[in-house]
């Protein structure tokens, strides 16, 4: 039962709240009516003929340095196409790769251009009807002149060009802190055993030998899968991920022995499975860890976060296994024009501009590894980036990462198993049997 005084209090409270609501709504109404001009372009369609066009471009966040290049391309393109406004949507990479992109594509503001990985994922998008055929632009136009034929690997479906090549991302190499290595008198390991020995020296010096942030499972997933492919051979690896042999096949279980070794020697940060990839990189940037297995994009991150860090990389050292021992785990990425876009021509024009030597050059400076030919004949390229690109071209074999090259459910199951083995909570037999059970036995 309420007292009279609290009722009076309630009334005053109501007055205040009503006042706030009315004020806010008035503000909003004013803002809405003033912004109607530009929001009107959202709805109209098919107006490539001079009417206002909003071109939406979506991707996982490529890091500040590369975002700056995209912004520069936007400025340049909008200057020569005054009717076009480019809108970027840079999502968290993990979000983008998982629920972000499908959600964007099915939503009301579907992007006209979106980032995607070549291979299985591109094929899925194609099957879903989100991939425009750009063969004509590649064959006849300016766009095609910026790429060699080899750049289109994994980007041609049913004889059609369906992707503008972006970067060739090496998804894992071993980055190392040059200063720590030289202080401890270590040289770059050339074999797996040398890497383990070096790690033990580093550990004795109270520095984390190898740091990785695996909360989202793909960082160790890529690294451990590369190790696995070296151990069991690329062919068995491919069969396993295509589920022609089960994940818990004896040779796979045996190959996981290398991950067990990483766990038993304790050379990977204890926090690996608790922190995300940025926090893992931060351990390396802050000099708390000597090595960091992650992809080529680390160069771009370091430009912003640790400009003074003296670091370099070596490929996963050779091991005694069935696979090609100088293989590189890499994936080509690119940009897809949405088949459902109303502005396919504008999208192609924009990607043409972005692939031109001017912006390719800027991408290289920002730590990217572009597939466009404009990238390679530059002398101001970061030496690490250049040598990464050369390493990829000379590799005895290219290994496709499970999450981008194969069925995502198989990749997820394998990644969970690898994380468990690295974390020491399961043996390879148990972890892989559980993983296979998730996929229906």
């Amino acid at each position: 039962m309420q007292t009279t005084s609290s009722k009076r209090g309630n009334r005053r409270r109501f007055g205040v709240l009503t006042g706030i609501l009315v004020l806010v709504l008035a503000l909003v109404a004013a803002a809405c009516s003033s912004s109607d001009g530009d929001s009107g372009s959202d709805g109209d369609s098919g107006s490539d003929d001079g009417g206002p066009v909003t071109l939406r471009v979506a991707m996982g966040s490529p890091g500040e340095a590369q975002i700056a290049v995209w912004e520069a391309a936007k400025v340049s393109f909008e200057a020569s196409n005054p009717n076009v406004t480019i809108e970027y949507n840079f999502q968290d990479d993990d979000l983008y790769e998982t629920i972000g992109l499908p959600n964007l594509l099915n939503g009301g503001d579907a992007p006209d251009v979106y980032f995607e990985w070549a291979g299985e994922r591109l094929q899925n998008r194609y099957n879903e009807g989100f991939v425009a055929d750009i063969t004509d632009a590649v064959n006849d136009g300016e766009l095609g002149s910026y790429f060699d034929a080899g750049a289109y690997n994994g980007m041609v479906i049913d004889g059609k060009n369906v992707m503008v090549p972006g970067n060739a991302d090496v998804t894992t190499v071993m980055w190392y802190n040059v200063d720590i290595f030289s202080e401890l008198g270590l040289s770059v390991p050339t074999t797996w055993d040398e890497m383990i020995t070096a790690s033990e020296t580093i550990k004795a010096a109270d520095i984390v030998p190898i740091a990785i942030g695996n909360k989202d499972l793909w960082p160790v997933g890529n690294w451990a899968s590369h190790i696995l492919s070296r151990a069991i051979g690329e062919e068995t690896y491919d069969k396993m991920l295509k589920q022609e042999i089960p994940l818990d096949a004896p040779e796979v279980v045996a190959g996981m022995g290398y991950i067990v070794e990483l766990q038993e020697t304790g050379i990977v940060n204890e926090s690996a499975n608790a922190i995300d990839d940025n926090e893992g990189a931060e351990l390396f940037f802050q000099g708390k860890a000597a090595m960091h297995p992650i992809g080529s994009w680390l160069v771009s991150w370091a430009i912003e976060s640790a400009p003074d860090l003296n670091f370099d990389y070596f490929n996963l050292p050779a091991m005694e296994g069935e696979g090609t021992q100088d293989s590189v785990i890499a994936v080509a990425t690119g940009y897809v024009v949405n088949a459902k876009s109303d502005h396919i021509d504008v999208a192609v024009d924009f990607l043409t501009l972005f692939s031109s030597p001017e912006f390719t050059g800027q991408m290289v400076e920002a730590g990217g590894t572009p597939l466009a030919t404009g990238a390679l004949d530059r002398d101001d390229i970061d030496s690490r980036t250049l040598s990464l690109m050369e390493m990829m071209q000379s590799a005895g074999a290219l290994v496709a990462p499970p999450d981008t090259g194969y069925d995502i459910e198989v990749a997820d199951a394998l990644y969970a198993a690898e994380a468990e083995v690295l974390g020491g909570v399961s043996t390879p037999e148990e972890a892989l049997a559980v993983a296979q059970a998730k996929l229906g036995g």
């Binding site: 099915n106 909360k215 926090s271 608790a274 931060e282 974390g423």
Partner: protein
Amino acid sequence: MRAHRWFTPYLLVVPALALFTFAVLGPVMATGVFSFYEWDGFGVFTPVGFDNYVRAISDPIFRASFVHVAIYIALTIVLEVGAGLFLAGMVTSRPKGTGFFRVAFFIPVMLPLVVVAVVWGFVYNPDFGLINGALEAIGLGSLTNVWLGDTRTALIAVSIVSGWVFAGFFMAIFYAAINQIPSEISEAARIDGASEIQTFWKVKVPMIRNVIEIAILLAVTGGFQSFDLFFVLTNGGPYGATEIPTTYLVKVVFRNQNVGYGSAMAMVMTATVLAMGAVYMWVRKRADVEGGTA
């Protein structure tokens, strides 16, 4: 009372009903329909009967997610409702000087989730974090732990954050309820020589029993629906130790595009929540009957 015109009540209800049916009730029924099909969100519907339900009931991750959320709810009853009751007891034990504390304890309720996640991510961070840093500083380095990465502590760690956020909410409810107890009653207890703590447990708590029951119901049904904290702090990890029904559901539907299967899981969860509500009503009714005869 009859309305002046027979159709007035219907006109009054229609706006709310239309919106509610369109955005909630209709989708509930559609989710029920989806659950009998295999559907990826845009292709063809393939009827599969009860297969999705059979799969859900035998899915080890889905089953484990119910265990996790049950543990989480049990912990939050202590860390949210229990802590809220404790805080309310503290701030009502004195007539003055508690305004600052009441405000401070409620602030986390309104914080944007990302703030909570980033701040607590750093508190728990194994390498740079405040807890491990503090433990090292006071010479207890051996107790440091990978709080969110250890299957034994991850769920507890998330529950503690949950408690930090929501204890203030329950404190506010209990605070108001305790203040409605006529002051003569606690005065009487004090004159009888009861200490502040005794008065709280023997007099005040029994008098707000109904409120505590409602708070527990809110914690149980709210806890079952939680998503945000888990999504940003662990997203199900490590090794699936904090996978709860909602995080798993979002993965199945939006990552694997398995809408039919996800819908069946959603229906199982709905049935669970409705059953919990029914149990509460039943317990309430029995308590009322007993209360009436006593």
